[in-house]
């Protein structure tokens, strides 16, 4: 096991499906160099086929005995072949059209979901690499070219060593590792470690306008990630049955309006999203998690204090990220990289963590003034 594990929690109740994360990731990493078809971060509507299409049925991961399950490499069509347009021909009076047929795309079934009008339902699941503790990709790689970073558990492909065999793709049950046809090697979400090392949260999390993403170390007991995952147990891994022990966690969807009966009267206490579906996604723990959320919301509605609600509301965007840069700087120092172009801090706002106490920053040019941090009091 890596020494520490950096993790992310995504609150599906706050996710608005806007895909700012998807596009932020795209411009940060995947709009070039053979990665065009890849969405290291995607957002999919559930119930739905997801990205790549039907990934949940594509195998990989581990069985109950810890053996790798059979898996397939999705067809390019299932990823959605990235289509291009004839923008230049608009100057010739042409219509704007794609240069290839449109068959499927990474968000093809956006907002479709399930049920029937007026009782339809849908919700969004943003997905990045889970940076699993027991990665299927890593286990499947015959070259042992996939590894977890010792310092933070981020899963990387050693591109010097990777030979592009693609076993990893079959082995990952989330299909979150991709073959780069341009370099004939596998690539995947890197949790934006070069940003993290320099003080910026991952693009998908930092730029999430729904404010659904928390980033921090799982052993940082003061951090929101630890509290949501371990203290309140409201954040659960996706498809825990795949056996890879993901380090991305989800607060399951509780927000769900009542259904209507045949006379169009609302049915009290009814849910649209079937519990069986949530169980499939998040395991039996989902009941407990939803119960806890419900109870804490009720408490809050009564005007009582709730630390859990305070965390999920997330008053200050900055506080959603605890990147612990003392720790990264120490690690960099060990490798002689501290202060190098790779470790020069570019943003001072997100540096706190278990090894980094919040400090008053005086000479940060991006800020005219940083508001003093109030003592956190829970409740209204």
């Amino acid at each position: 096991m890596s020494k520490r594990q950096l993790a992310m929690v995504m609150d599906l109740n706050k996710c608005i499906g806007c895909q700012t994360c998807t596009v932020a990731c795209k411009t940060q990493w995947t709009n070039r160099n053979g990665r065009e078809y890849m969405y290291w971060n995607n957002v999919e509507t559930h119930p739905g086929a997801g990205y790549p299409r039907n990934w949940m049925e594509a195998g990989g991961g581990f069985d109950q005995d810890g053996n790798l399950r059979d898996g397939i490499i999705p067809d390019m069509v299932d990823y959605g072949i990235p289509w291009d347009y004839n923008h230049d021909e608009l100057f010739k009076g042409e219509l704007l059209h794609t240069k290839s047929e449109l068959e499927w795309g990474p968000n093809w079934d956006e907002d479709v979901g399930g049920g029937e009008y007026p009782n339809s339902y849908f919700f969004y699941i943003p997905r990045i690499c889970n940076h699993c503790s027991n990665p299927g990709c890593l286990a499947a790689c015959p070259r042992e070219a996939i590894f977890k970073r010792e310092q933070d558990g981020i899963v990387l492909v050693d591109l010097e060593r990777c030979q592009g065999y693609r076993y990893c793709i079959a082995g990952c049950p989330y299909k979150k590792i991709y073959f780069n046809p341009k370099i004939s090697k596998s690539e995947k979400c890197i949790f934006c470690f070069p940003r993290v090392e320099r003080g910026l949260p991952p693009a998908c999390a930092h730029q999430c306008v729904g404010r659904i993403r928390f980033v921090g170390f799982l052993d940082d007991e003061e951090g929101q990630v630890y509290k949501l995952v371990h203290k309140y147990k409201v954040a659960l891994p996706l498809r825990p049955d795949f056996g890879t022990q993901p380090n991305v966690y989800y607060v399951p969807p509780l927000f769900d309006p009542p259904k209507f009966d045949e006379n169009m009267a609302p049915i009290e206490n009814s849910r649209r999203i079937p519990m069986e579906y949530l169980e499939l996604l998040f395991g039996k723990e989902v009941h407990q998690a939803l119960d806890t959320l419900r109870k804490e919301m009720e408490k809050r509605a009564r005007g009582e204090e709730s630390e859990l609600m305070d965390i999920l509301i997330a008053y200050s965007h900055r506080d959603m990220f605890r990147l612990d840069n003392n720790y990264y700087q120490q690690e960099a120092a060990k490798k002689g990289l501290k202060g190098s172009e790779f470790f020069r801090i570019v943003d001072q706002r997100y540096l706190q963590g278990a090894n980094t106490q919040r400090v008053e920053i005086k000479d940060y040019t991006f800020h005219e003034k940083i508001l003093p941090q109030e003592e956190k009091k829970s409740g209204h």
Binding site: I16, C18, Y167, P194, R211, P257, F342
Partner: protein, 962 residues
């Protein structure tokens, strides 16, 4: 099948032909490296780590070279971005995310932004970018262009504008900044130019159909509301005809954080939309019947006595008396002041308070005072010099009756029966009793009961109304009915109330928009101008059915058309100024900025009619929009990261953002800022005019008569440059930003440098609040000054207005809030709804490859699965959508959240996405609503708060598989 890892590999190599590897040689390429467990440590991590680190460093560039920006488009989100740059090329953008936490108990505004703003860096270098000035060399629309120099282009544009001024007059020119560029500094360029030259300038909010005339009627202004952090504090949030998860992406978090905070979220829309999916209650109102639902709620509130009498007596016109003989409001000018029933004492006391100011008696209204049983005048109305709404402690004590019928003596001695407006409202609302209108609204009476309680009982509750409501033909009435609900329950200020969109008071911008009062703008009605330009009555004729129209409107189509013509005749041209919705028919020379009008305008006749009337079209934009294809001259504009700019309104938040180009940014083609372009045009016009003048010595070449709108009686072309540039101070986009910062009180104390350092924004100071104080640590809400200080509203009554006694309104039964059905033809079974998309701001960013890949790549219509099955339509099929005026082709998307009587297509797709260049608006007619057209009653006078809408939702269609 359970396999060990080794077996798995074997299986893969045996079955996976694509892999084709597995022999041991393949593993021997690089040196042997012993790896015990790559899950805990790895000997050589630095190769790949450094690769990605370098890649990040490349995209990040140098902090000191970064720019700041926002995207000056019609989403009005206004978010501060940090623009990353490498070697003078923008690599990507990242939200600055540096807005302050105003209150530790209310979530901050970070990281404002969205999926569209986050990819502008990709679009700015797309191949549809207009790089050089170009001149059309083929037929219009044929796509044949010749690159020309800036000087050639400007000369042609200036010459055409000048010649038009000489031959037709200033009103022959039409200079307009479209909704692709909404901002304070940048958009001011074209507007200033238009005002200077006396060109026609149509009202944007009206023609795009984003006005709230029904709200203006009630509150005196249409754009009212809170900053979105207020949402967090509400006990009940009601989102009516709105989908903030899609259309207010940067602010949507406040809804769900508010829900965690104990708030209840209610969504009222025909489709189960992206916001409804997380609501506590979704109300599936039938498309076009929002007004009926609103009236049902009003009825429920009145019947269950959930209204607040003490509030409505003071703050609304509900106690005002109405004559039962003619349905007119009882005015001071009507009555016999010597009648002992007239409350002379109050009148006398108010006269004293008026300090000699005159009472305009026809705008002074009366109520029946329960304190003394007399008819008493009410303070605060337009004609009463006493401007407070206070009913006591100032020398009078009025407790106006809300109910009852009284008899009053008129000047001529006759007696008439009068009753308070409240009685009439109560009577009208009864017609809409929830169980009676259930069949029309699709909303169960139980829900109406619940809504009434949710609006009346909690501490803080609001209704936020979206733009869709105004997009129905009778949507203005629905807007009015919805806006009329919350005041019954006493909701203003911190207690919630009604929200459309807040506007900050920003003073001092007149310096960059105006000319010290010398010139007035030729301000034209938006919806009327487009209607006339596009011969849109033809579509009305062909789409609407005689019997449906007559049933709903109580008049035949012919009668309607005659009435429209009559009304339009009054307000045409210069002589029509002040007599209704201004418009000018003889426009022929067009200079348009960021205005994709063929995408936006409704109907099948508009394009042809427009192109026939437009003798010359110069178009300024950064990209080749569908409309650009029809221009005669194309001028390349800079896009959002290349310009200096400043933006505040609307007031979703309290920050003004700064566009500050990155240092050392490489120019994109020969693009110029709009300010530079306008300055060049002005210089050229003056040059040409002066030349002509010097040649002939004739003043007419430099003095263009404009008696109506110029103080000197002329547009003075010999001083054009000095006037436009304020003697050289205002020539560029950066000049405009600097002048705006210097002259605007609400921005102080700030400079470009202080804004840039902070991450590209400033925080408005306390002076920015219009009808409430802007407290430093509390969300902004609306009308606190009215509620606590008894300030009057900007309405005829001085109050929240329920009653309109204009003749036409009385004739159409709209003197009190009411609802009317849609007029869409019944022979086509599906109402066509075109909501805002998550993926574009109208047409802006619709052509983004990155974003199109996250949709279906081309226009698609959403169809209910049951309907699709009946029609034999499968997901992905091409379908034809049609009615009697037009058709369009699109991909079918089977969509369970679509009602069975509707077809959804997100709007914004430009015609060039569609087969035959026929967009979905080909099937939409947009007739003028007579009430929206009416003008002159009280505060219903043509202007920014009282124009009308184009109606995007007033059509029905059928669909078939191709």
């Amino acid at each position: 099948m359970a396999l060990s890892r080794r077996d798995f590999l074997k299986a893969m190599s045996a079955t996976g032909a694509a892999l084709g590897l597995g022999s041991s040689e393949a593993f021997a390429k690089s040196k042997a490296m012993v790896i015990e467990d790559p899950r805990s440590s790895y000997p050589n991590s630095s190769f790949v780590e450094n690769m990605y680190r370098k890649e990040f460093a490349y995209t990040y560039g140098k902090k000191e070279e970064h720019g700041t920006a926002y995207h000056c488009v019609n989403c009005q989100g206004n978010c501060a971005w940090d623009v990353w740059v490498q070697n003078g090329i923008v690599t990507r953008e990242n939200q600055s995310a540096n807005y302050p936490l105003l209150n530790p108990k209310i979530p901050d505004a970070n990281p404002r932004g969205c999926n569209k703003g986050v990819q502008h860096s990709q679009v700015m270098y797309e191949k549809d970018r207009i790089l050089y000035p170009m001149k059309r060399v083929g037929e219009r629309g044929e796509g044949k262009w010749k690159r020309i120099s800036w000087d050639e282009a400007i000369t042609e544009v200036a010459t055409r504008i000048y010649e038009t001024m000489l031959t037709v007059g200033p009103q022959g020119n039409y200079i307009h900044v479209g909704s692709g560029m909404l901002t304070e500094a940048r958009a001011a360029s074209g507007k200033r130019l238009g005002t200077l030259l006396g060109a026609v300038r149509p009202y944007i909010a009206s023609y795009v159909g984003d006005m709230f005339p029904g709200v203006s009627l009630v509150y005196g202004e249409g754009n009212i509301g809170f900053s979105y952090d207020f949402v967090y504090t509400a006990n009940v949030q009601i989102w009516w005809g709105q989908d903030p998860n899609k259309s207010r992406i940067p602010d949507a978090h406040y809804l769900w954080e508010g829900k965690y905070n104990g708030g209840k979220v209610i969504v009222i829309t025909p489709d189960f939309n992206a916001t409804a999916k997380g609501a506590d209650l979704w109300v599936p109102v039938r498309a076009g019947y929002d007004g009926f639902l609103a009236m049902a709620i009003i009825n429920e509130i009145i019947q269950q006595k959930l209204y607040k009498p003490n509030f409505i007596k003071v703050f609304t016109d509900l106690p005002f008396l109405v004559r039962l003989d003619n349905k007119k409001l009882l005015r001071l000018s009507d009555i016999d002041k010597n009648d002992p029933m007239f409350d002379k004492e109050v009148f006398h006391n108010m006269q004293e308070k008026a300090h000699g100011k005159e009472f305009e008696e026809h705008e002074v209204f009366l109520s029946y005072n329960l304190k003394n049983g007399k008819f008493t005048i009410m303070p605060g109305s337009e004609g009463n010099p006493v401007k407070t709404l206070r009913l006591k402690d100032l020398g009078w004590d009025i407790d106006p009756a809300l109910e009852g019928v009284y008899e009053v003596r008129l000047k001529d001695g006759s007696k008439v029966k009068v009753t308070p407006v409240f009685e009439l409202l109560k009577e009208e609302a009864k017609k809409f009793e929830a169980s009676k209108v259930f069949k029309l609204t699709n909303v169960h009476p139980k829900i109406v009961e619940q809504l009434a309680k949710d609006i009346a009982l909690p501490k803080v509750a609001f209704i936020s109304m979206g733009f869709t409501i105004g997009k129905y033909f009778n949507g203005m009435l629905a807007q009015r009915a919805i806006a009329s609900i919350t005041p019954l329950c006493g909701r203003l200020g911190p207690y919630g109330g009604f929200n459309t969109e807040n506007e900050w008071a920003i003073s001092g911008l007149a310096k960059i928009s105006g000319f010290g009062g010398k010139y007035k703008e030729r301000f034209a009605s938006g919806f009327v101008s487009e209607f006339v330009l596009g011969n849109m009555m033809e579509d009305f004729d062909r789409l609407y059915e005689e019997d449906t129209f007559k049933e709903v409107m109580g008049m035949s189509k012919e009668e309607y058309k005659k009435k429209v013509e009559e009304m339009l005749a009054k307000s045409e041209g210069d002589k029509g100024i002040g007599h209704g919705k201004s418009y000018w028919k003889d426009v022929q020379t067009f200079l348009l900025f960021a205005d994709a009008r063929f995408r936006r305008n409704k109907g099948s006749t508009y394009k042809k009619a427009f192109l026939e009337k437009a003798k010359f079209i110069a178009y300024v934009d950064f990209r080749m929009s569908d409309f650009a294809n029809y221009a005669d001259i194309l001028l390349p504009a800079k896009s959002h990261y290349e310009v200096w700019d400043l933006r505040t309104n609307p007031g979703y938040h309290r920050f003004a953002n700064l566009a500050h180009p990155p240092a050392n940014l490489k120019p994109v083609g020969e693009a110029k800022s709009e300010w530079e372009i306008c300055t060049m045009i002005v210089e050229k016009i003056q040059e040409i005019a002066m030349k002509k003048y010097k040649e002939t010595g004739d003043q007419k070449y430099i003095k263009i008569p404009d008696p109506e709108l110029s103080k000197t009686g002329y547009r003075d072309l010999d001083t054009l440059v000095d006037e436009f540039t304020i003697n050289g101070q205002l020539r560029t986009d950066k000049d405009a930003v600097e002048i705006a910062l210097e002259n605007t009180d609400q921005f102080k104390p700030n400079t470009i440098e202080s804004m840039f350092k902070r991450g590209g924004y400033l925080q408005l100071n306390e002076k920015a609040g219009k009808s409430s104080p802007l407290y430093p640590d509390k969300p902004y809400n609306v009308f606190e000054n009215n509620l606590f200080l008894y300030e009057r509203f900007e309405t005829l009554s001085g109050r929240i207005t329920y009653y309109v006694d204009d003749d036409l309104w009385i004739q159409m039964g709209a003197n009190v809030p009411t609802a009317k059905e849609p007029i869409r033809p019944r022979k086509f079974p599906f109402v066509l709804m075109t909501p805002h998309s998550r993926w574009s701001i109208h047409s802006t960013y619709k052509t983004s490859t990155l974003l199109l890949r996250l949709q279906r790549g081309k226009p698609y219509v959403m169809i209910n699965p049951e309907i699709a099955k009946k029609k034999g339509i499968k997901d992905g099929d091409e379908v034809r959508v049609f009615n009697s005026i037009g058709e369009f082709y699109a991909m079918a998307k089977i969509y369970p959240s679509c009602p069975k009587d509707a077809i959804l297509i997100e709007h914004g797709w430009e015609p060039f996405f569609y087969k035959g260049r026929k967009g979905h608006n080909e099937t939409v007619a947009s007739p003028l609503n007579l009430l929206e057209l009416s003008d002159g009653w009280g505060h219903l006078k043509f202007g920014g708060n009282w124009d009308g809408n184009q109606h995007a939702y007033e059509t029905s269609v059928d669909v078939e598989k191709v």
